[in-house]
Symmetry: C2
Subunit: 154 residues, 2 copies
């Protein structure tokens, strides 16, 4: 049974419009550990078009990288500390520090988008994740998230 990273976020941090299980009006995005990567799959609703109707909205793509980058950082940090998502332990919670999004080609509508996160660097409470968004096997967007761990006492 696969376990989404967001489903193990502490309840007080579960209100994110993109990926918070507690946000009933949000998208409830789910990120999963798959080997050395963290993977998110999402098919945008028809309203999320970009300037032209057959391309996806850049802001939505940035949002996917934002939520998935923070979730990936969580999983990588938890693994580095000896845990594994789904083992019942409390996950650390990371927030977005710096997000970079490179739009390499138009992202088509009507297909499932796959976002992959790979660990670039973990240094203290700062985890850097390389991100790649594909549609139909073609890379449309790349990016990077520098995520910061929220202190436990917050």
């Amino acid at each position: 049974m696969r376990h989404a990273i967001q489903d193990s976020y502490p309840a007080r941090f579960a209100h994110c419009h993109g990926c918070g299980p507690a946000n009933r009006d949000g998208w409830r995005l789910k990120s999963y550990v798959e080997g050395d990567e963290v993977v998110l799959r999402h098919t945008p609703a028809p309203a999320y078009t970009g300037g032209v109707p057959d391309h996806a909205y850049g802001g939505l793509l940035a949002s996917l990288l934002d939520c998935h980058g923070a979730a990936s950082a969580t999983a990588f940090a938890y693994r580095a500390a000896g845990g594994e998502v789904g083992d019942g332990g409390a996950l650390p919670r990371f927030v977005s520090g710096t997000l970079t999004v490179v739009y390499r080609r138009p992202t088509p509508m009507g297909v499932e988008l796959v976002v992959r996160g790979r660990l670039a660097e973990a240094k203290g409470r700062k985890v850097t994740v390389d991100l790649e968004l594909s549609a139909d096997g073609e890379v449309c967007v790349t990016g990077q998230m520098i995520a910061l761990e929220i202190p436990a006492e917050y």
Copy 2:
């Protein structure tokens, strides 16, 4: 009478979820020229919370910078060519090339957010815009958009 940049986009490029006048399910964000700056004002709907209920969603903030960055690039390029938004001429249409978002402090919910775009560099069909998002007079997010002009024959 002020004229929103997005209201002069060519009709075939007016479907953006963030700022397209033709997207009835979108936010229809509006960016206005104010002197040497381009300014967007937006109060997020209550659903757009971040991890905690009193902070705004990072993906929405990235989206505001995405739409406003492209709109600002349009206005700066049009002015460089001797026009002014609202003069009835057809505006060039820019798309997102690279967007960088730096989350400097949590952005509060329930207040109007102000996003300012300033011209950093214009070089051929590439326009770079520095971006700054404030709430209650405090800068919460900064960023940069490298926008690319869509060729007229597209």
